[in-house]
Structures are given as structure tokens and as C-alpha cells.
């Protein structure tokens, strides 16, 4: 008698559709990052000089905020998996607070730069810095809207331990936003 042990790989968390969206977003950001790195070769002095004008403290704080926020989303998913809807909602609110903190700090950073007259056409470094981080900023906003939609549906009783695809879908997108920042922060703010 033979024992055939067939271990099926587990499914991607959330809707498959969001994962195709995530892959597309990662592709775009990946190309953006590589183009930044390539253009830097041709403009090393400008990139090195103006990178020093960036606020690394705010960048690091934002990284910590997004990592923490992502952790809260993980806790939210864990909560709904054991049918603890209330806890899921509270963790999502905590994650949203982290996202809001990120947006606020980023806004301070932009305000600082714009008040100095810096814009997309100031020089090539600032063009990349502003367009990359603003593109990411928009994704944070979208991610927060998605998480908030999940909160509203959870409050309406839409999710249970047996059915919480929506929570995992929102979580997956939020983690993508975090993942992108994990690469963006050292690339734009630190590595020289």
C-alpha cells in the first residue's frame, strides 16, 4: 500500500484580481525605481547633492509608521479568522491611523519643499523625488480608502471566519504599499 501525500499549495490571500493589480503596480514601481537608479548614473553630483536636502528623519518615521500599520492589518486578518469582528475593526482603525500619520508627515515634507520653491522642474533629482513619492502617496490614499471600505463592510456584518476574502484583499493591497516604500525610502533618501 502506498501513501500518497499531496500537499496542495494554499491559495493567495484575498481576491485573485487584486493580485493582478498588485503585480501591475509593482511592475510600474519597479521600472520607476530602476529608471531612477539609471538616471542617477548620468547625474551623480546632482543626485548626491540634493538627496542631502531630504528629511531622513521623516522618511524613517514614515517607514516605521507603514511597517506598524501593516502589522496592525495582519492582526486584523488574524482576528477575523477567529470570527472576532470587533477586534478586526479596531485593528483596521489602528492601521488607518498609521496611514493617516504617514500622509500627515509626508504633507509636512512636501510643504517644506514647496515653500522653498522646489517643484518637478527644479532639477532631475527633485523631479524623481516628487513624482516617485507622490505616486506612492496616491497609493497610500487608495489603500486607506480600501481599508475604510473593509471597515464599513465589517461593521455591517459582511465578514466571518468562513468568509473574509474582502479583508484579505484589502490587507494584500496595503502590504504592497508598504513593500514599495521599503524599497523607495533607502533608494531615494539614503543610498548614495
Amino acid at each position: 500500500m502506498t501513501n500518497d501525500i499531496n500537499i496542495e499549495p494554499k491559495l493567495l490571500p484575498g481576491d485573485l484580481a487584486i493580485w493582478f493589480f498588485i503585480f501591475m503596480e509593482l511592475l510600474v514601481f519597479g521600472i520607476f525605481f530602476i529608471v531612477y537608479a539609471v538616471m542617477r548614473i548620468q547625474n551623480i553630483e546632482i543626485f548626491n547633492q540634493y538627496q542631502l536636502t531630504l528629511n531622513r528623519e521623516l522618511g524613517a518615521a514614515n517607514t516605521l509608521l507603514l511597517i506598524t500599520s501593516s502589522y496592525f492589518v495582519v492582526r486584523a486578518v488574524q482576528a477575523i479568522r477567529i470570527n472576532n469582528v470587533k477586534s478586526c475593526i479596531y485593528w483596521l482603525y489602528a492601521a488607518l491611523a498609521g496611514g493617516m500619520g504617514f500622509l500627515i508627515l509626508k504633507s509636512f515634507e512636501y510643504s517644506d519643499k514647496f515653500s522653498e520653491g522646489i517643484n518637478l522642474s527644479t532639477n532631475i533629482f527633485y523631479m524623481f523625488y516628487l513624482s516617485l513619492t507622490m505616486f506612492h502617496f496616491l497609493h497610500v490614499v487608495l489603500g486607506m480608502l480600501i481599508l475604510f471600505a473593509v471597515v464599513l463592510k465589517a461593521k455591517g456584518g459582511a465578514y466571518t471566519a468562513q468568509n473574509h476574502t474582502g479583508v484579505e484583499t484589502g490587507a494584500s493591497y496595503w502590504h504592497m504599499v508598504d513593500l514599495v516604500w521599503i524599497v523607495l525610502f533607502p533608494l531615494v533618501y539614503i543610498i548614495r
Binding site: 503585480f23 519597479g30 516605521l64 533618501y189 539614503i190 543610498i191
Partner: protein, 73 residues
């Protein structure tokens, strides 16, 4: 991940440059990104295709960045 982030910040604050520092920072990024993919996104145990895509993205991006920085040094 918090500690890795703080180490990245400290390295930046010290203004260190050079291939070693660049590689160290990219390694840190790879580790943090890998932890997000495996633990936060929960991709441990999913089909190999999806893991290859995600880890592949992270690896290719960090590798490409590393190569351009090494060329420029």
C-alpha cells in the same frame, strides 16, 4: 524590521558611502521586503509561481539598483 529600518536611517545619517554600504543597505531592503512578502502578505506555502513573482520582483529591483550604484562608484 524596526531595527533594520533604524539601522538604514543611522547609516544614512552617518553619510557613509561605498560599495559595502550600498550592498548592506540593499541587503537590509531585501530582508525587510522578504519578511513583508512571507509574513505580512502570507505568501508562505502558496504556489511557487506567485512566490517567484513577488520575491523575483524584489530581487530584480534590488539587483538592478545595486548594479547601477556599483557602476557609478
Amino acid at each position: 524590521m524596526m531595527l533594520l529600518t533604524l539601522s538604514t536611517y543611522v547609516l544614512g545619517k552617518m553619510g557613509l558611502t561605498g560599495i559595502t554600504v550600498v550592498l548592506l543597505l540593499l541587503l537590509t531592503t531585501l530582508i525587510k521586503g522578504g519578511l513583508i512578502i512571507r509574513d505580512f502578505m502570507g505568501l508562505q506555502g502558496v504556489s511557487l509561481l506567485w512566490r517567484v513573482i513577488m520575491y523575483g520582483w524584489l530581487t530584480v529591483v534590488c539587483l538592478a539598483i545595486g548594479i547601477t550604484y556599483i557602476i557609478s562608484i
